[in-house]
């Protein structure tokens, strides 16, 4: 009954998306807890609803086409924060570029090596490769290199949350105290979620993180087709 009612109305899917995100956003604004990311809460709410009401994902996704069509635009606009932070870049160009490049190579390289050692299947490993890139870039990269974009998107969210929660603690343990270095590490490993966390640490950390996020995303897009040859 509910399933038919949902499927009949072409707006129900998008209404559900925006409504649940609104709830998630409100919860996050109140608590400011990294784990309560609006995208995580809203996805859990929607998955539970679809499963209980027995609505197939295809039906829900079809009704979100309007959002899906605008999705590629979301990467292009990242040029603006990159441009705004260009002055910080000028001051520390060498350490920033080196840090993001080494970090991106290390995370992709170690992922492939560890995955191969324990025997993670190739299709999953390929889908995991762009996990540290921001989602607008990761979803397209996954498609190009033959991954499962739905899996990649979820892994990107999980990576962001893990990096956002554990990142500052891990960096402290590893005696990385420099503000620039902390921001670069958080932004290049856990994109937007890491950047929100970095701004909590300080203004410098935040600016560095948003810069690192855009550079790391672009680098991931360029390096992924090369790394996929190793898988």
């Amino acid at each position: 009954m509910l399933s038919e009612f949902f499927s009949m109305n072409p707006i129900s899917g998008m209404l559900l998306t925006i409504g649940c995100y609104w709830i998630g956003h409100t919860i996050f604004e109140k608590t400011k807890l990294t784990i309560l990311q609006p995208i995580l809460t809203s996805s859990i709410l929607i998955i539970s609803f679809l499963m209980i009401a027995d609505i197939p994902f295809e039906v829900y996704n079809e009704q979100n086409m309007l959002l899906n069509y605008i999705l590629p635009l979301t990467a292009v606009v990242l040029a603006v924060p990159l441009y705004r932070n260009i002055h910080v870049m000028k001051k520390h160009a060498v350490p920033i570029l080196a840090g993001v490049t080494v970090g991106t190579l290390a995370t992709m390289g170690s992922l492939v090596i560890i995955g191969k050692l324990i025997g993670t299947s190739n299709r999953i490993l390929v889908s995991m490769l762009p996990k540290s890139a921001t989602n607008p870039i990761a979803i397209e990269v996954s498609e190009i290199i033959g991954g499962i974009p739905f899996l990649t998107v979820s892994l990107v969210v999980i990576t962001g949350i893990l990096g956002g929660i554990l990142g500052p603690e891990i960096l402290k343990l590893m005696r990385i105290k420099n503000e620039v270095a902390k921001g670069i590490a958080l932004g290049s490993m856990s994109h937007a979620i890491g950047t929100v966390r970095a701004f909590k640490e300080g203004e410098v950390e935040g600016a560095m993180s948003s810069l690192a996020m855009a550079i790391a995303g672009t680098l991931t897009a360029i390096l992924s087709p090369i790394f996929v040859l190793l898988i």
Partner: protein, 131 residues
């Protein structure tokens, strides 16, 4: 004007698609679009005020666009359940390694550059003393 801002961003994406189609690059069109918009801003063809409102709005609510794709994970619950440790193990370890690599590289290079700057400064002072 919102319409003009939207047009410029769409034009950058359009150019991105065109370039990727012509050159046959294995890079996403929207990343090429990002680079085109960034270069256009650096050269000064596009000013920040030409794209700021639409960009800020999209970036603020970026995650909304990824709710439906994230919900898509429900199609793969069985695959993930079976392979959970094969996924989460490499994921966590590679994040820790990447954090360390990025942070340590940046920190060490900054320290080296600061030391160089400091020693150059000392030389300058020494020279003054001789005078």
């Amino acid at each position: 004007m919102i319409l003009k801002q939207f047009f410029i961003i769409l034009a950058a994406l359009f150019l991105g698609y065109s370039i990727v189609a012509v050159v046959n690059l294995p890079i996403p069109s929207n990343v090429v679009g990002l680079l085109i918009l960034f270069i256009a801003m650096c050269i000064g063809i596009v000013k920040e005020k030409h794209v700021d409102k639409v960009s800020d709005f999209i970036i603020k609510y970026l995650a909304v666009f990824f709710v439906a794709p994230t919900v898509g994970i429900m199609q793969y619950f069985k695959l993930i359940g079976d392979k959970f440790f094969y996924i989460i193990g490499p994921l966590i370890l590679s994040i820790i390694i990447g954090l360390f690599a990025a942070g340590a590289t940046t920190q060490i290079i900054i320290q080296i550059m600061d030391k160089k700057r400091l020693s150059v400064g000392k030389k300058g002072l020494g020279g003054n003393d001789v005078k």
